[in-house]
Subunit: 309 residues, 2 copies
């Protein structure tokens, strides 16, 4: 199945304990699309400015990602400046220059209308809802959000949550969205808001998937599932780890044609694998050079690291 992803395509200027980079290609849709491209056809809807050059587009198209839906607008692309010098697990934002992204009005190319799966990356929930409404025939919808939308735009976010087969958020976002500090209670409350399934990311500690009776259409509520991460000695740049996780997860799901419990669980492992590659170098560098062989090897590694014989 093919995936349509809507989200940011941006430039990031960042500093981590490993070094400093100016204006490297980034954005949620970029990381997601690259990670998912190893598994299935991916189409991107986004907006960029005049500083988005053919060399940037080639990062996506060289992996077979369809960029027809990346609109060119007069001005500059979204530019985020941040640092991880204080804490490698939490970015400190120095500047958010929305530029052309401030007026982003997603347009779906006609050639994207047959997309099977929709991924609503972390953008204004009003835009997420608009894109969802324009794609009435998709088979699966997954999405991301963040503390800002949960806090200040909750009324706009709630209708989006009701459309989701799977919501991917982190521990703090789950607590904020539910008002519950206990992880399991938080998950139950979040699923009551609408998502059929919920994936909560725990950073270096992996992720937990929670299921409802609606997860697989059979009325059966399954046990949560915990997927580990690969311990890495060198985390160079955490930017895009969550989006790459989402791309690996959803890309694998789409490649399998249907969402069974085993596909869902296996997809979490592929999410961990793609997230682990993403952080090994700055920006999209590592995802660009990853091979399917490396992905399979790390998947086997992750299984060996977590399975009893």
């Amino acid at each position: 199945m093919s995936i349509l992803v809507v989200g940011s395509v941006a430039f990031d200027s960042l500093e981590t304990p490993s070094g400093k980079r100016e204006r490297v290609l980034g954005g949620a849709a970029t990381h997601f699309a690259l990670a998912a491209s190893f598994f299935t056809d991916v189409r991107v809807v986004g907006v960029v400015g005049e500083d988005f050059l053919p060399e940037h587009e080639r990062v996506l198209t060289s992996k077979g990602v369809d960029t027809t839906g990346i609109e060119r607008a007069p001005g500059k692309s979204f530019h985020w400046t941040g640092t991880y010098l204080r804490d490698l697990n939490e970015a400190d934002t120095i500047a958010t220059d929305l530029n052309v992204f401030a007026e982003f009005a997603p347009k779906i190319p006609a050639s994207y209308e047959d997309s099977d799966c929709l991924f609503l990356a972390n953008i204004d929930p009003m835009l997420q809802a608009r894109v969802r409404a324009q794609m009435p025939n998709v088979k699966l919808v997954a999405g991301d959000t963040m503390n800002y939308w949960i806090g200040a735009h909750r009324e706009n976010l709630l209708p989006v949550l009701r459309e989701l087969d799977a919501l991917l958020i982190n521990d703090n976002e789950a607590k904020m969205l539910s008002g519950e500090s206990n992880g399991l209670r938080a998950a139950e409350k979040v699923m009551e808001l609408g998502p059929k399934s919920l994936i909560v990311k725990h950073g270096e500690y992996g992720s937990t998937a929670y299921f409802s009776e609606r997860s697989f259409g059979d009325g059966v509520k399954r046990l949560p599932f915990r997927a580990p991460t690969v311990p890495l000695a060198d985390v160079v740049d955490p930017t895009g780890a969550g989006d790459s996780f989402a791309g690996g997860f959803y890309g694998y799901v789409a490649s399998q044609g249907s969402l069974t419990p085993e596909v869902f669980r296996t997809a979490l492992f592929y999410g961990s694998v793609m997230g682990s590659f993403a952080v090994e170098r700055f920006g999209t560098e590592r995802l660009q050079e990853t091979t399917r062989q490396e992905i399979d090897a790390r998947f086997a590694h992750l299984k060996e690291m977590s399975h009893l014989s």
Copy 2:
């Protein structure tokens, strides 16, 4: 194989979001011994005061725990007062009344001398070293410690670390002991200090075991292993979770007769299982009423929650 555990036998007065309890039976050796008692013979070395009544001793002896080595001293037992109202993952100590524990000088009964495995619970490393020296013929030695000993008694702790087949500590302790914030680098540095293997506990996110070339005596260095925890909707009292984890882990190892990689990994799952029971009620209440059948069911549950088919 039998286990000798040396550590605190104490009373805890505590408050959690679930309620308040005064002077419930606790202490690292108590929680450890109860958890391990489901798997193998356990012998306790500790000290208590005149307030330790036959009803308290029966909590241990009714599970077959040998209490010959619990010395009775004039005065009161160790009494810890704490609260988890601020953070269920981190106790705030209100009072530590060492009482008879201040003069604790561990004595090994003759009937304990044939113990196969030694567990050095979290006590003064000088006492850990003394007990280790008194048990020259044990086949395995595992142990715990805490931030206080790592910070202020490092020179006494280092010789103990060199004696350990496995050290069990949490993330912060591993970082403090190694001076490294990255988990994998911290683990490598800690093992360079002596422990053949290292188990780092991540609280609600499970644990990771790290191995060295010395872990299994065959010169082979294995991948780390990650064990999950059971998501619980109600954590009533986290006191003793780590000691119960250690008891489940080491009890299972001892029950298997030798420390192979698969025994080690499986033991981590039993550690998670016993830790998850411990926190479901106050003090030792839940461990006292657990059955082997419940333990096996939760082990199967944990495997289902983390294994791809």
